[in-house]
């Protein structure tokens, strides 16, 4: 990206305000062996439903009509392949044929293109279908030139949680262990669904504040059950929890690893000392205390090992 990307599209995101170091550290402002003039050698396109502070940094701003991202991506996929697209279809997205033809031309003639997509794409109408469409467009662009796509993620070390859950269980989130092995079904086993249905009888929360973001029925359930929170701060969730253990803030007073959104692990080196224990230490001590207790399920009550099917 830093070395080669001469064509960068931010789609449904506002990096100027949400990822303020992205432009300067990784993308448009960097000079490199292959792009010696830095910003002048790169083209930046912003696709969003409204003008944000990121517009100022863009060479081209495409204001798509709200909820029409999927249609726009599909039209681009057709135009890239030289297929027929009706005028009405283009008009529906709020953009013109000239703009899109120009965009497609630039996409095809760049040397290294990249889509960064934010929650404005992945969490609006169409949701994961939008992400899938954009990823497909990026894959198909490789018939012409090099093209990649990457989500712009937020919320602390969410990528790190993803990565570790994947190597230990095979799945990134929405995992249930209630049969003794990992099963995955977002929409059924995701935290918010479990809480709204009232399926769980205890909650253990680290480094998140669901009390601030989840729907009311989920919050109500958190209040009903024993909720334990590990957090350096007082949060909406810590206020409703039965137990709040104050921990040292990661990266400031506690060491560890954070995964960048391209899944590269960065070591965290604490600058300050904290009187509070780290999250890791608290979890380890809870684990040790549990290990002292007798195995809580009676012998033979556990499901048996499954053998390979088919």
């Amino acid at each position: 990206m830093k070395q080669r990307a001469d064509f960068i599209v931010y789609w449904g995101g506002n990096p100027a305000e949400c990822h303020p170091r992205h432009f300067t550290k990784y993308t448009i402002m960097q000079k490199s062996k292959f792009l010696p003039r830095g910003r002048k050698d790169r083209t930046m396109v912003l696709v969003d439903i409204r003008e944000t502070k990121s517009v100022k940094a863009a060479d081209i701003f495409l204001q798509v009509r709200p909820g029409k991202d999927f249609e726009l991506i599909t039209i681009l996929r057709a135009l890239v392949k030289g297929q027929y697209v009706a005028d009405e279809a283009i008009a529906e997205t709020g953009l013109t044929r000239e703009t899109l033809d120009d965009l497609v031309h630039r996409m095809k003639t760049c040397k290294f293109g990249c889509f960064f997509f934010g929650m404005g794409l992945s969490m609006t109408r169409g949701k994961h279908m939008n992400s899938a469409a954009l990823l497909t467009l990026a894959a198909e662009m490789n018939a012409f030139t090099k093209f990649v796509a990457m989500p712009m993620r937020g919320h602390g070390n969410v990528t790190g949680a993803d990565v570790i859950m994947r190597w230990q269980t095979g799945f990134p989130f929405g995992i249930s262990f209630n049969r003794g092995y990992p099963r995955y079904n977002p929409g059924e086993f995701s935290t918010v669904d479990l809480l709204v249905r009232g399926d769980c009888d205890a909650a253990f929360i680290i480094g998140a504040d669901p009390g601030a973001t989840m729907p009311q029925p989920a919050i109500d359930h958190l209040k009903r059950i024993p909720t334990i929170v590990l957090d350096p701060h007082i949060t909406h969730t810590s206020k409703l929890a039965r137990v709040h253990i104050t921990t040292a803030p990661q990266g400031i007073a506690a060491p560890g690893t954070a995964y960048r959104m391209d899944e590269l692990p960065m070591p965290l080196k604490p600058a300050l000392k904290s009187p509070y224990p780290t999250d890791e230490e608290v979890v380890r001590r809870i684990n040790e205390a549990i290990a002292q207790k007798p195995f809580w399920l009676p012998e033979g009550s556990q499901p048996q090992l499954l053998t390979t099917i088919g």
Binding site: M1, K2, Q3, R4, K25, Y26, S32, K33, F34, K111, F112, A139, N142, A143, T145, K146, V148, D162, V163, I164, R166, W167, Q168, T169, G170, F171, P172, F177, R179, G180, Y181, P182, R183, Y184, T257, Y259, E263, L264, P265, M266, P267, K269, F295, Q302, P303, Q304, L305, L306, T307, T308, I309, G310
Partner: protein, 545 residues
């Protein structure tokens, strides 16, 4: 302490071929000359092998973890590992989870494995995953052949500098050796290009050719005195007619040590998918006349798998061929990687040729000290299917039966039907343990000498070979019984082998400005701290004069 009596022992490195012999293990988990008053395993009716060693597998790191994310549909239908008192839960399948990987390998009698492709940038991640693979001992190889800082030195003809840079990277990654993947080709792929011929300059690197990269890198491995030679994934993988590239590479390498990875994928003739045929006879002949060079088969087994390789351009081609999911990762200035789920079918002519070619190499290369059991997991098939391959190697009649499943058009494209050779148990023990241990330079593995690690696998002698090799009676790792009667008894933490090559102390300051110019993280944070490796075994390497 432990005593194993009455078993028929096969230990190629010790010259023991099916002799009934007692074995003793001391308290430090190594073989001893005697042991008194301790637990005795009565191994009468069993055969005893040194623990298996996988020379080339992909079980940890960014790529396999991406593959796990891409294949939830496989996780659902696969073997589930229930949580027990000694075992953590997990999933088997095409890309098993870390804990399951340890149980599956140990469950098959393998006690050492070599993760064959780690970019330095994700080395920290890979070591964390390796630490979560229980029981087995591990090593990892660092991807170097497309590292831009190193390529720049080679382009300038600065061999000595390049050598220092490689040594610095090796220690930064805390790894065991050097892996070269499609030299120059992955760097070219950053612009959507490839490097198919050894004499054509690499895109963006002046006159530098893949041939130069490959020979100089092999020389660097030799000069640094690394225990394992350069581990090479040749250019032009998987393409019809690539035998010429492979033989050309081998000729470039003459006079240097090398391990050629998954050679099945590099032994094709023909000039298109319609005319593709196996050219393993030519390749095997080369190995038979050059006993110093080793390889692993990269054999294919029919069925579902997921292919992952640092060979980005090849994976894009595979995506276009199959129309299935495609994941691509470019790792800054170091390497890249592609991921595509794939199904090998006997009815597919290309797949049939690949299946035959893997077995042909294992059978045509005469010395099992030169060709090792591998599927390039998960590329040619999953590692837990090795027992099926062992059966095919030991039973010509089973091979004949399997050949019936292939399409008629296969005639004349493969030589497998004409091969009658059957592996003996001693040869199997060589190809799955003693040979790979020797090629990796792991002197304490793959043999039963006093002082070596007490890693053993005991099988009930059985005519059904696949059954026998997939269900060991006992597996002993470092003197501890980890598996008994198909149940994991203990899941101890394994060790990690790494090397510390000597390099000029000024190399840090040489690399720093180059690094800061092209990387996106700070120089201080880049090398993996030795404290992050669980149970490291560091081997110092000194310059070979």
């Amino acid at each position: 302490m432990l005593r194993i009596t009455g078993g028929k022992v096969y230990a190629p490195a010790n010259g023991i071929d099916g002799v009934v012999k007692d074995l003793f293990i001391d308290d430090s988990g190594r073989f001893a000359a005697s042991a008194e008053g301790c637990r005795t395993i009565d191994a009468a009716g069993m055969i005893v092998f040194p623990g298996g060693v996988d020379v080339h597998t992909h079980v940890a790191g960014g790529a396999i973890n991406f593959a796990r994310a891409m294949t939830p549909e496989d996780h659902r239908r696969t073997q589930a590992f229930m949580r027990t008192k000694t075992r953590r839960s997990g999933l088997g399948g095409m890309a098993p989870t870390t804990f399951a990987t340890g149980y599956l390998y140990a469950g098959m009698g393998f006690t050492t494995l070599n993760e064959a492709a780690v970019p330095v940038l994700s080395a920290r991640h890979t070591h964390e995953e390796l630490a979560d693979i229980p029981i087995v001992d591990k090593s990892s190889l660092t991807l170097m052949a497309n590292n831009e800082i190193m390529l720049d030195q080679l382009q300038k003809g600065e061999y000595e500098r390049a050598k220092q840079v490689v040594a610095w990277y090796l220690w930064a990654a805390k790894s065991y050796g050097i892996k070269a993947v499609n030299p120059g080709g992955v760097a070219a792929w950053k612009y959507g290009k490839d490097a198919k011929q050894l004499t054509t300059p690499v895109e963006g690197y002046g006159n530098l050719t893949p041939g130069t990269i490959v020979t100089q890198l092999a020389q660097i491995c030799d000069d640094l005195g690394l225990p394992h030679p350069m581990h090479l994934h040749c250019n032009n993988l998987g393409a019809p007619g690539n035998i010429t590239t492979t033989l050309d590479t081998l000729q470039h390498l003459e006079g240097r040590r090398a391990h050629i990875a998954h050679s099945q994928y590099h032994a094709y003739g023909g000039d298109g998918w319609d005319t593709m045929c196996s050219e393993t006879a030519q390749l095997a002949e080369y190995f038979n006349t050059h006993p110093g060079i080793t390889t692993d088969a990269g054999a294919v087994v029919f069925g579902d798998t997921v292919t992952i390789t640092a060979d980005g351009p090849w994976q894009h081609l595979l995506y276009k061929l199959t129309g299935r999911k495609w994941g691509n990762l470019d790792v800054e200035n170091e390497t890249g990687c592609g991921i595509v789920p794939y199904t090998y079918r006997p009815s597919n002519l290309v797949n049939a040729v690949q299946w035959a070619a893997g077995l042909e190499l294992l059978l045509l290369i005469k010395s099992p000290w030169q060709v090792f059991l591998s599927t390039d997991h998960p590329n040619g098939g999953c590692f837990w299917r090795y027992p099926e391959i062992i059966e095919l190697l030991m039973r010509a009649d089973v091979r004949k039966e399997q050949l019936q499943r292939l399409p008629d058009k296969i005639k004349g494209r493969i030589t497998l039907p004409e091969i009658d050779r059957e592996y003996t148990l001693l040869e199997i023990a060589t190809a799955m343990s003693a040979g790979p241990a020797r090629a990796l330079g792991l002197t304490q593995k793959g043999n039963l000498s006093v002082g070596s690690d007490a890693d053993l696998v005991l099988y009930h002698e059985d005519d059904n070979i696949a059954q026998m090799f997939s269900h060991p009676r006992y597996v002993i790792k470092g003197g501890e019984i980890v598996l008994e009667d198909g149940e994991i008894r203990e899941a101890p933490q394994g060790r990690e082998f790494l090397v510390r090559p000597a390099y000029d102390p000024g190399t840090d300051e040489f690399i720093r400005p180059l690094f800061e110019d092209c990387y996106t993280m700070s120089f201080e944070n880049y090398p993996v701290e030795i404290e992050r490796i669980e149970h490291p075994v560091v081997r110092d390497c000194h310059k070979v004069q």
